[in-house]
């Protein structure tokens, strides 16, 4: 596993808040040269610590007013292949994330929809008809914060 020093941590904290800043601007804040900063970012990318960049959009402003977290239980465990369910659910464009979990539910989905009627359409026509889909529990997102984490 990659060993990180304080400067690496500072770079990660800065990029988690704003990945739009270049190595030059970031280096100046941390008292590093542009090439030194660039080399460190490169090393973090190569070690897969930096998995990628995400464009932050205001979902409501682009027409997605509703985000729902859906817990899904498979109805007939063993009979339906998990792969079939996973492939079918991943193909739904409104489904942003699919996580296989242990606990009350088998899968946790994050779904975006234009509004509640649109969500109902996705739920009835796309989710409930999936191979093996059983009980579902929907929680409508009201607010969300992402924190920097232990870096």
């Amino acid at each position: 596993m990659i060993a990180l020093d304080d400067t690496d941590h500072a770079i990660l904290r800065a990029l988690v808040a704003d990945a739009g800043q270049g190595a030059g601007a970031l280096g100046r804040k941390l008292g590093l040269s542009q090439p030194a900063t660039w080399r460190r970012i490169r090393r973090l990318e190569e070690a897969r610590v930096l998995r990628g960049r995400r464009l932050m959009l205001d979902a409501a402003a682009v027409g997605f007013g509703v985000t729902v977290f859906l817990g899904v239980k498979l109805a007939t465990k063993g009979r339906v292949s998990l792969e079939d369910f996973e492939r079918a659910v991943s193909a739904i464009p409104e489904v942003q994330t699919v996580e296989h979990v242990l606990g009350l539910y088998d899968y946790r989905l994050r779904i975006v929809a234009r509004d509640l009627p649109d969500f109902e359409r996705i739920l009835r026509r796309r989710i409930m008809t999936l191979p093996g889909a059983g009980d579902v529990e929907a929680n409508v997102l009201l607010s969300e914060e992402r924190l920097a984490g232990p870096i």
Partner: protein, 151 residues
């Protein structure tokens, strides 16, 4: 609202936020000046709010990820605020979401291993104020992780 050019730009930019404006123009088959103009407009209107780095916590040695779902004691008027303030101070908490539904709040918590998780859970999660109920979903695998919006 978005026009067809905006949607095209956002589709490519969500796929790869590191694209330069000229690369973006080429892929979206638009002129560079058009891309520059549409991007500026979307930033000014708060549609694009920025770019952030995504960290792979497994690569940093955090093997355990748990989704903790809380219902709070809502007889106390400040229960939500006090719970959220305390949860923000826990370094291992990556995400905080509030919901309309059976679950009030969800925390995404990471730990190095199960022993570390137990320690975090006992000393920092169970001590959060106003908890009525907790459910845990243990993360097993990430099947789809594409937090782009189907614009």
């Amino acid at each position: 609202m978005l026009n067809e050019e905006d949607r095209r730009i956002l589709r490519y930019l969500q796929e790869d936020p590191t694209l330069s404006q000229s690369e973006l123009a080429e892929r979206a088959r638009l002129s560079p000046s058009m891309v520059a103009r549409r991007l500026t407009r979307m930033e000014e209107r708060g549609i694009i709010t920025g770019t952030v780095a995504v960290i792979d916590w497994q690569a940093l040695g955090y093997a355990v990820e748990v989704s903790l779902r809380f219902t709070l004691d809502k007889t106390l008027p400040r229960a939500f605020d006090e719970f959220l303030t305390a949860a923000r101070a826990v370094p291992e908490v990556l995400e905080i979401q509030t919901f309309l539904g059976r679950v009030d709040v969800r925390l995404s918590v990471i730990a190095r291993d199960m022993a570390h998780y137990q320690e975090v859970y006992r000393s920092r999660i169970l001590t959060l104020p106003h908890i009525a109920e907790i459910e845990a979903l243990m993360h097993v695998a990430r099947i789809k992780w594409q937090e782009s919006l189907p614009v």
